[in-house]
Every structure is written in C-alpha cells, then in structure tokens.
C-alpha cells in the first residue's frame, strides 16, 4: 500500500515531549476526535518525530511524559502514524528507534497529506 487510507482528521505534531505542551495538546485533540468516532491520522514532522522515541521517562520533576498516551492510541483505533522521513534522518533515527509502527513519508507524499483529509490541525 503506497497511499494512506484517507481519514477524517489529520493531526500534525511538530513538537517533542516535555519541552512544551504542544504534543500533549495535539494528542488530546486526536483522542477527542477518535472518541467521537472520527478516523484520525497523525503526522509527525520535524522535532515531532522525537515523540516516538523508545525509552522515554518522566521529567526530572516527575512530570508525566506522553509515551503512555502514544501507546494508548491503538485503544482509540488511531493506527495511522505517518512520519516525515527527512526528519527521521535529521535526528539520526531509524524505525527501530521508535516505539510504534509507522509509515515513513517522502517529501512528495507529505505534500499530498493535507489535501487528503477533511480537517487538518497543526500542533
């Protein structure tokens, strides 16, 4: 399969865990939509790919991370996880470094994603 199945909502995640609240906010938006029966795809761009790294922990002050939420996505039937291939390369990551199965997207494939979804939210 080369083309992702179109879904109702594309949530673009561009921030890593812990530094800001953007990642959590984006995941929350995705979960709300999924809880209401929408089909949701996530696209991890730029620094957002680091949200998928294995081995994340709580912050130094005990702040909860987001990796438990990422593992929960499957329970909300959010299974289309797209990642920007160039961003993986920029961070020196391979799929083996990631905690969940993903689909790597070329620059050209990414440029088709927003048009293929009924709603796009960027976080």
């Amino acid at each position: 399969m080369t083309e992702p199945t179109p879904s109702d909502l594309l949530v673009i995640l561009r921030h890593g865990p812990h530094g800001t609240n953007w990642l959590r906010e984006g995941l929350d938006a995705a979960l709300v939509a999924a809880a209401f029966g929408r089909r949701v795809s996530l696209l991890f761009m730029g620094e957002g790919v680091t949200a998928l790294l294995r081995g994340q922990q709580a912050g130094p002050l005990g702040q909860k991370g987001t990796s438990a939420t990422l593992e929960m996505l499957e329970m909300y039937d959010i299974e289309t996880l797209l990642v920007e291939e160039a961003a993986l390369e920029r961070f020196g990551l391979t799929e083996a470094d990631l905690m969940l199965p993903v689909r790597r997207l070329s620059a050209e494939a990414i440029s088709r994603q927003p048009g293929a979804h009924r709603l796009v939210l960027t976080f």
Partner: protein
Amino acid sequence: MLLHILNRSPAASRVYQQALAAMGPEDRLLLIEDGVQGALPQLVRYFDGLQGRLFALREDLAARGLEGRCEASVQVVDVDGFVDLTEEAERTVSWY
C-alpha cells in the same frame, strides 16, 4: 486547493519549511503577523516556487512599516481579501 497560513518570519523560524513541505502544487500561502517579513525582496527567496500563490496581509505589513517594501510578485491582500482567500480554499491549515 488549500490555504496555508504562516505567522512566523522565515528569518527567525523554520516553521516555513514545514508549511512548504505540506503544500500541494495548487495550494496557496498567506503570510500574516511576523510571517509578512517573508514578503521582503531579501527574504522572499525562501518561498521560491510559489509565484502567483504567495500572499501577504496588508494590515500586518502596514503595522510593521513594511507596506510598499514587498517584492512585486507577492500579492498583498487586506482582511477582506483574506476572507476571500479563505472562501476560495477548500479549507485552511495554520502554521505557527
């Protein structure tokens, strides 16, 4: 055709790269707030390839003293023009 809206300056932020990466071949880009700096002749090169599809918001240019300093290929629109662009697009995507 989607309308992408960018509010960060290409001189200060890499967000513009994400906007460009996500744009389809017909999509338009509107520069607002600090994004309007990208309409300057010295900075517009970041948006090569968008000729005819690059817009900047007049009110934000004027507020920054940049109205009249734009590269001629950038189409300057006022708030009503912003609304028109929104209506012409299937939907909008914000980059911030």
